[in-house]
Symmetry: C2
Subunit: 420 residues, 2 copies
Amino acid sequence: MTFPIHEQVQRIAEAAKQAARVLANTPTAKKDAALQAMAQALRAQRDRIRGANAADVEAAQGDGLSPALIDRLTLTDARLDEMVTSIEAVIRLPDPVGAVIKEWHQPNGLLIRKVRVPLGVVGIIYESRPNVTSDCASLCLKSGNAVVLRGGAETFRSNQAIASAIKQALAQAKLPEAAVSTIPTAERAGVDAMLELDQLIDVVIPRGGEELIRKIIERSRIPVIKHAKGVCHVFVDEAADLQMAETIAINAKCQRPATCNAMETLLVHERVAKRFLPSVIARLREAKVEIRGCETTRSMVPDVQPATEEDWFTEYLDLILSVRIVRSLDEAIDHITRYGSAHSDAIVTSDQSHAERFLREVDSACVYVNASTRFTDGYQFGLGAEIGISTDRLHARGPMALEELTTYKYVVIGSGQVRQ
Amino acid sequence: MTFPIHEQVQRIAEAAKQAARVLANTPTAKKDAALQAMAQALRAQRDRIRGANAADVEAAQGDGLSPALIDRLTLTDARLDEMVTSIEAVIRLPDPVGAVIKEWHQPNGLLIRKVRVPLGVVGIIYESRPNVTSDCASLCLKSGNAVVLRGGAETFRSNQAIASAIKQALAQAKLPEAAVSTIPTAERAGVDAMLELDQLIDVVIPRGGEELIRKIIERSRIPVIKHAKGVCHVFVDEAADLQMAETIAINAKCQRPATCNAMETLLVHERVAKRFLPSVIARLREAKVEIRGCETTRSMVPDVQPATEEDWFTEYLDLILSVRIVRSLDEAIDHITRYGSAHSDAIVTSDQSHAERFLREVDSACVYVNASTRFTDGYQFGLGAEIGISTDRLHARGPMALEELTTYKYVVIGSGQVRQ
């Protein structure tokens, strides 16, 4: 007998909540043992996982998905190795649970201690890449959270196979299998059912396109931490070292253009535009980048397509770059405020006061002076892991790792104090 | 010409967002000068505010509101003095904005600094007490946030009068008046319009009854930090100092029963019930507390009404107490997990291992050993202020003060670093 989907999802979430209670008080060594078992299970069940993935790939080809998308969902041996390596890296990270964030005594003698505790049940809604299943499962487990995973329809079989290996590992480590669950359907109704369960799921983290995230925000009763788009800027100030600016601009655009921390718009101060632009655009074109520019850019560099109003708002995730010449630092900051997505923005300058104004006034999760926006990343920040990059302002901003998967509680120790 | 309500609210929120940009970079001294002007304006306009409040009170009497509710919305001279004193206290608190939470160098030489910044635009939806208007305005201003306030219909005139004094003070201090706004209607549509503006309002903090909060969670596209109910417990362990337990139980119930951190259920270990209960219940009854008990309680103490399943879930906010005798620490923890609201829960015990288990396993915002739950409060915790008590897990848990009205950004300082 099968239950209707909303009832199935409710049962999964209830079991996850029970599991979360257990995980919250599971010692580090036991969680690490379960992670070790997960790594082993993924290695041992490689053939079964590759088989499930092959079926997903075949279906995707039949559905006419783009080669880029098919590449994203394909699990090669190298990618399976990486999934295992990532779990092993999580084992080596410090357990955030139980850490004392702060403690102090009140004049009445009360000892107040702010202590890290898990969030509870984390819901993750994501698209395409099946490695997210094991990455998120391991990060949630290490931070004492249960996780309910809902991957895309296009990787349904792969995700189920990975989750099944993980569940065997949990059972082997004597932890509740419900610590890691997947929604057992590729239907949209599975997501909708999840988003109503604010009594059972503590936070939803969507990772995916704008449309997916929009729908989730509209429907969710559960707090959401968005992992939305990055329309990232590099501003080359009048006081920039132009050689450094060129290196940074090319890295920010070309090193991995499909990531959310890649540059989408280059802003150049008019005083250095003539010296800077022709050379950098020539090098970008060598790297196959298509340039769309403002009128002034087009007057300085031949064969540049005009950038439309829409271009300034666009996250290309591709070898396309919009270029604008601005008259001042103020104009650069205004452009970023208006068109940016408050993800990662950089200034290249050797003027200290310009750098300070940019860092203070650009209200993005990560603001840079004289460095590439590509560093917005949990590993590059030294956090040792990454569950994603929050574009929200509440709870966590920018790269999210283990600490960001926790909240806190106040532990208050008295000797009979009462309130007067 | 008047615009439809959703358009008016949109304009208010747009202006608030502009104001938030200014406030985020306003120096502490200027914010403090504005707070000083606010305190003066409230003093100077006392007669006008009392007049508006008198009209609210008269209307409330006409509408047949309960005396308790009318008391809550009435502004006496003493309450107006307190509003001014609270603003003066906020002036003396340290400005959280710009504080460096952490900083470190990466091996590649990047300096990464996690810096406190304001949340942006804070929406507050509240009921009854008009002092919330000035309390929240001053806390948001000090923490560099713009605020959009939506008080209850029953205090509409009072809130408008207070906000108008505040706006004059902002203008006098040369800060944007839109830093503090009120929704200019008592209609429900004003709230609905607010809750759609997730591009303009960064967080909504509802303070009020369960029904209000439920509706907000269902409709809001903006992240919500709930200030919901407190079903708080005191558990008297078998190893408790019974004299201390009695003092704590009476304080937690009677010192101010209408607050969210007052005890609603007393749990007593069966081994001490006979020695403890008759005496504490006698004293509670002297303080006019009605007792509702489990079967065992009723067998030990005469004239106790039976507690129903619903009682265990209920936040009485009144001189009513439910009492249950439990067989073990486990049963006490299970009861709290099942019926509590994860607000504030206490154990009275002199057994260190019981205390530790309770503190670890009871997953509430504030867990106490040997102290009254009534200490869950921003002032009592030494935070110097309180915008409310979060019953959510994300971003802020328990008492929220100035730091909890901020988020952070990463400031990254390089010397030309690019990603390999």
